[in-house]
Subunit: 118 residues, 2 copies
Amino acid sequence: MLRKVDKHSGIPAYIQIVNMIKSEVLLGNLQKGAQLPTIRDLQNIFDVNINTVLKALEKLKAEGYIEAEQGVGYFIKRDVYIDQKIIETIRECVSKLKDDRIDFHTAMLIFEEVWKNG
Amino acid sequence: MLRKVDKHSGIPAYIQIVNMIKSEVLLGNLQKGAQLPTIRDLQNIFDVNINTVLKALEKLKAEGYIEAEQGVGYFIKRDVYIDQKIIETIRECVSKLKDDRIDFHTAMLIFEEVWKNG
DNA sequence: AATAGTGTTATATAATTATATAACACTATT
DNA sequence: AATAGTGTTATATAATTATATAACACTATT
């Protein structure tokens, strides 16, 4: 789901935008050929300047996720296959963590630390 | 574990440093009263400029995680209690995901998206 | 008292990130 | 042919992030 950028997270806005769009592709919510909202709509959705949107789209284009058609719009260029088992594993984990009332940021920190230093 | 900052991640170095130190506190590897390496050692550990280290430490101080004693060093100011059950949940999840050969960045993207938009 | 090892403060510079604004180019519809 | 709706390119400005460097202040040991 495309949503407002978090301006206090410390993570650059254009990186957050790249991440959100990648996530949509990974989860299959945006499939090959799908058209993105117009850049001026994206500007409102993410609540950033149009140049920040463009910077994010440029990065996604460079990574092969999307392509532009001038005068028409931006389109998803490829599907990224993710085994549903993986998504289910993550859903279960998130569900358990929410039951335990842990906040997102803390969960992410532990997740990253455990991943990188088992 | 304190390690080199990833200069290509797009996430500001001082934020990565803040996150690593917070993680150590969350996992109990750095407990109340523990002394951090000197700022000049941290500079080498993280592979950044001394001012970048200071910026991170300043933020951690502002959030109450650490305190400074001039001429002596930086110390952990408080413990943050995390239920071991939570850490175990995350360990299991990470273990499963690694078995499925998914990469860290992709896992994080899905984790975040599932969390924020179940 | 001297010194080595800490943190502290300050100045300058460059690259990156984000905003504001405007004009332009292409496409599809009227 | 005109026009509304797309993406594209460009310029200026400000704030943030990161580096380099130097001098200073406090603490504990010698």
